[in-house]
Each structure stands twice: as C-alpha cells, then as structure tokens.
Symmetry: none
Subunit: 400 residues, 2 copies
Amino acid sequence: MKTAIITVGKEVLTGKTTNTNLRTIASRLNQIGIDVNRSFVIDDKLEEYHEILDFIDEDLIIFTGGLGPTIDDITRETVINYFGVDTYINQDILKGIKSYFDHINVEMKDTNNKQALFPKKSIILDNKLGTAPGVIFNVNNKTIVLFPGPPHEMLPMLEELIKYLEKVNEIKYFSKGFKLVGTGESTMEKSLTGFYELHPNVNIAPYAGIGEIKYIFTSINKLDLENAMNEFYKLFPKFVFGDLNDTLEGVVVKLLTDKKMIISVVESCTGGMLASSITNVSGSSSVFNESIVTYSNEAKIKYLDIKLDTLNTYGAVSSECALEMSKKLFEKTNSDITVSITGIAGPTGGTKEKPIGLVYFGVTFKGENKTYKKMFNGNRYMIRKRATIFALDLVRKELL
Amino acid sequence: MKTAIITVGKEVLTGKTTNTNLRTIASRLNQIGIDVNRSFVIDDKLEEYHEILDFIDEDLIIFTGGLGPTIDDITRETVINYFGVDTYINQDILKGIKSYFDHINVEMKDTNNKQALFPKKSIILDNKLGTAPGVIFNVNNKTIVLFPGPPHEMLPMLEELIKYLEKVNEIKYFSKGFKLVGTGESTMEKSLTGFYELHPNVNIAPYAGIGEIKYIFTSINKLDLENAMNEFYKLFPKFVFGDLNDTLEGVVVKLLTDKKMIISVVESCTGGMLASSITNVSGSSSVFNESIVTYSNEAKIKYLDIKLDTLNTYGAVSSECALEMSKKLFEKTNSDITVSITGIAGPTGGTKEKPIGLVYFGVTFKGENKTYKKMFNGNRYMIRKRATIFALDLVRKELL
C-alpha cells in the first residue's frame, strides 16, 4: 500500500511549526507494516492541491490540516471536489458542531457549516476535541483520508484509520512496545549490539524523547514478537516502566493506589511540575492530597521550618536541604512517601560549584531518608522536565 | 524566489526522526523574505529524485541528506547528473576528507572520493563537522543547493547560503505577528470579515493552538505591514498579549517584575500547572515565592482554613470556595496578587450541576476579590491547560 502524506499549512512552510504530524502518522503506519512512500508540504492554495493530486500516484493519500472554519481552510471541499464524488451535509455532525459551540458558550458561525460536508460513501472520523471532523473515503481504487492539523485532534482519528486499514489489509501486524526511563539511546544501542540479528522477523525501533525512550516491536508473527520482547525485557528490567499506553506518572499513581499510599511533594526549581504531572493522572485524588512550591528560602522556612543553619551553611541547592525538605514534609503531612526537589534550572544562577543543571532530590519512605544528586543537560524547560521524570522514577523504584 | 526543500531519508518517512531541517531552513529563509513554496520528503532511490525534479518548477531547490559516503548516499551524483553540468574532483576537498579520516583515526574508503565531486562552476560549502561538503550551483536559471542531513553539519552551510542569497536577492520581505488569548479562531475570523481586503499587500495568517492564537503578517512593504498590524491591534487590544516571541507566562512575569509585585497561587484541579507555568519563566523567582496545591478538602482547610460550612454548603468546586481560597491565600502570604483555581478536570467526577470542564477562579488584588466561572472543553489535560491559560490571562488583565 503506497502511501503519501500531505501536510497543508503556511505555518510549516514558514518554519513557524515543526511538522510533527508526519512523524506521528508515519511511525504509526509503520507499525502495521505500511511504508510512507513520499511526503509533501503545500500551501493552502487551490492550485497547490490540484498540482500535487495530479502528480501523485499513491494508493493511500493522507491530508492533514486545512479542515477548520476559516476561509483559508479549503482542504475538505477542494479534495472532495477534485475527486468528483457525491456529497451531503451530515446533520448529526452539524448538530454536534452546534452543541460544541453551545457547550463552550460561543455563538456558531455560518462558516462552520462546511465542516459537516462529506462524500456520500465515507467514514466520518469524530472530533471530540474540536469542531473539524475527519473523513476516510474510497475513489478510483485509492483511499483518501482527511485529518485536522492540530495534533491532539488528529491523534484519535489516526487510531480510527489504523483500525480501518487493519480491516481492509489482509496481513495483520502485531505491534507492542516498552517505555523506558533512566537510560539513554546510545547506551541502549550499545547494549543491543547483536540483538537485532537474533530477531530477524521482528522490526524493533527506538524513539527517544526527553528523559524517556520507547522501543516498538512489530511483526506478523505473534510468537516471534513475544520472544523478542521477553528477551529485551530480561536485558533491561530496571529501565522498563511500562508498555506504550503507560505514562510514568500513571504507573506511579497506580503503584500508590494499589498500595493505598499517599504522596506529597515539595518543589523548588521544578516549581509545581512534579505535582502537575502526578495530578494529570485521572484518579490521582486518592493518592495525592496536598503539595507545596517553596521557591524562596523564606517559603522553605515558613512551610517546612528548614533550619536557617542548613540554608546558610549548605545553601538551598544542597543534599542537606533536599533531605530536610522531604523529611519535614513527611512530618507535617499525613503522607506515606514524600519527595523534594531543589536545583538550578538556569539560564542564570549557576556558579562553578553549583552549575546550571545541578539538582538534588530527597525521598522519605518507610522511616528512611535518601538523597540523590544529578546533573541534567538542556535548557530551563528540559532541566525541569528531566528532574520531574527522575523524581517520578525514584518514587517508582521505591514502591516496587 | 519560489523555493522547494527536498529532504532525502527513510528515517523521516518511517517516523524515526522529525524533519527539523525543514523548520530550520524555512524559518531562516523567511527572515530574508524568501518563502518556501513546497516541501518534499523522498526515499533515496534514483527514480524518486528524477520524478520530483521533473515535477518541480521552483527557482531555488534545496536538498538535505544523502551526501554521505555509503552506497545509499546518492544525492550529489544524482542531482548533478540530472542537470547535466560539467563536473570535476576537487583535490583540496579530497585532501580535507583524507585528513579528517586521519584525525579520527579511521581508514578512508574509496567511496569517500565521490564526496569531492562538484559542478565546474559551483560554490563549495565546507563541512567542518563531518566529511560531506555542501554545494551551491546555478543551472537553467535555477539555484540548486545540496546540504548534508545532520542538522549540526547543515547549520553553518545554511548561513553561507543566506549570505549568498542576500547578495543576489534584491527584494526584502518583513514578517511580524501577534499572539492572542481569550478568543477563538472562528470568532476572530468573523471579526476580521473585510479586514483582509483592506490590506491586499499584506499576507495575514492565523495559527491556532490550545487556548492561544497567533496571527502572522508578511509583506514586502514595511509601512503596509505596520499599518495592517496597527489596525489589527485596534480591533483586539484586549486579546493581544504580545508578539511572536512572547509567552503568556513571560508577559505575566514581566508585568509583575515591572510593578515589583509578588504572586502566589493555590490550585486544585490544575494541581501545580499554573505554578509550574509561571516558574518556567527565567527570572520568576523575583515575583514568585510560594504556592500550594490543595487537592483534597482537608488540604484546603489545613493550609487556608477554608470554612467547613463553605465546603459543605457549596462544595469545593464553587464560586464561594474559589473566592475564599484566593482571599485566605492573600491573607496568609506576603503577596500582592493571589489566584485560586478549583474545578472538575474529568474524565470522572462530573455531575449534572457540576459537569466536567467547570472551573471556578478567584483573584484577590488591591483589596478586591473577584470570581470567574468557566466551562472548558477537551480531555483532562486540555481542561487543565485551558484553565491555566485563563488564570494567567486574568492576572495579565488585572495588572494592565
């Protein structure tokens, strides 16, 4: 199934945005054995659509972007008209768009009507996170797919497309994977020397993120897939925290829930990112009651009675302060485990002794206090993000 | 100068890598008034190069990738042969490649010789970070550019290209923009009916994100550009919070810094996201000392003495509770402005009276207490994110 992905948008062509949709769609298609042949980025002009559609000969053609309500958003009508298929206005979708606007208390504009235009024979891809629905239709032995541009709106529709393609495609691919934390891609690749050759029927691909790596395994043979995954897991039991649907914070909240434990955190340089990450998990309210951001020394004293002596002798960014923070937080809250983070996120405030990226952590659990010292790379956001992930992983390892 | 960027590489087509070169090159060209017309990603097969080169009619054609020494790296010879220009082996470059291999203590292969192949009339782009030099050459009134794929090798060559283009180009384009909050794309478009026609020499394009919209203005006439932007600003002074380089939290931190004011926040459903967002701004430590996440009712009572009566009569998600939270936080901290957030982020916990997405805000500033009620759409993350943006915008408006 030769595939072309066409991204519509000035924002990509002017370099205001990175084309992440291409990567997302291509890697997901890859998992079910579909190769992307070519990819295009075009401007939202009628003639650009026509030129590309005249040019390409792929069997599966996926557009992203240009489904919105503005006059610039012409993907839906242009592509549908190009193929000359019969259309209709879907009243259910129209109602859905109306109720979306009611729900957010905004008046619906006439221009939104065109978002309910569909080929007569088509599969509608619901948009629960915006007003622009997607669509799949078949014409001239080709499958045409229209996705909205915003990644969070596109993502659920991509899963619908995968289901559809798995149905029409005869070979079924199996795809699973692991998520890992606490290791890096080059370290992993070194450890995996020779591993790929032992599993020739399984496609194994790493995808590195900030502080996290995914390994995705794909095969048409379920047994081969499971073998490869078992062998892989045996190599890295400490680093694997879950499968592709897991999030590190989700795993931590589940561990806490299973053990009926309460967590509290106190943050300095991450400024609420750890608390925010835990509370982004639905159901976190049963394991999380309270947390504090003690950004200034005064706040550290006010909320946790951190000794002035500790702050003066060792400084706020120190193992001693991190230890005292998690210990005092444990004493002052009804928690089973407490974590503290204090560090230098930059871009200013670094010194020779305490450079940017230096972060101390404290963990208090089962009467024990532990501290950790780490150096993180990257800009302010990345240092904060990596510190948050490291703290979550500390909790995960303590609870296991 | 119509421009096409062609990325060569299976890595991008399988979703292993994000095509960051496109963004880097496009945004840099944009700064000197050159629009990228279209962009392509192709596999490194001879026929793929030929098909694309037959198809495109752009004046400036930039390839990235496929300049390395392996048999898969065929960009250089394929593109040069396609245009049928005379070539030669550059002995200086060949020597350079040899000494690079000496330097890294690796034996040079014959296949590396091809990296010294150039059109007779061409500008060689030195590669100080790898073995593959780039090249600029002109043929049939077109400018052809070949860059290596690795971003750090490509970057210095891009600057050489920019210098070259600035010399040959005569027209200069200008590009600026606004970021807006508190409005939606369709509402904006309705308000802008007729506006685009009044500014025919300015390209004006909206880009919507979660809770935020950008409008980017581009023109060859600086005065036209400034006129359009001034008129635009007059229409939406309340919504515009900054230019394209600004972030909402950055603007808020700057306003607080300028007014020498301290902010504290208390969060329930956003669970630290607002604090984390403020503290992601470098320099926020001068306006931010402390904050709390009071997720449970007990924490609301413990940290802020929220009246049991308020919680029992109105519930934690209520205007009354939001009001009491920001008021008590103001009393208990040495802050000039306090903000509270309490709501239902879902996906569970919604009721008919208090559905998912319902969020209350409290603001205490200059002796006044205000509350706000909002309904947000989307999943848990988006509701939290939108609540965070709304709270930041409340602070911005109070401070203005």
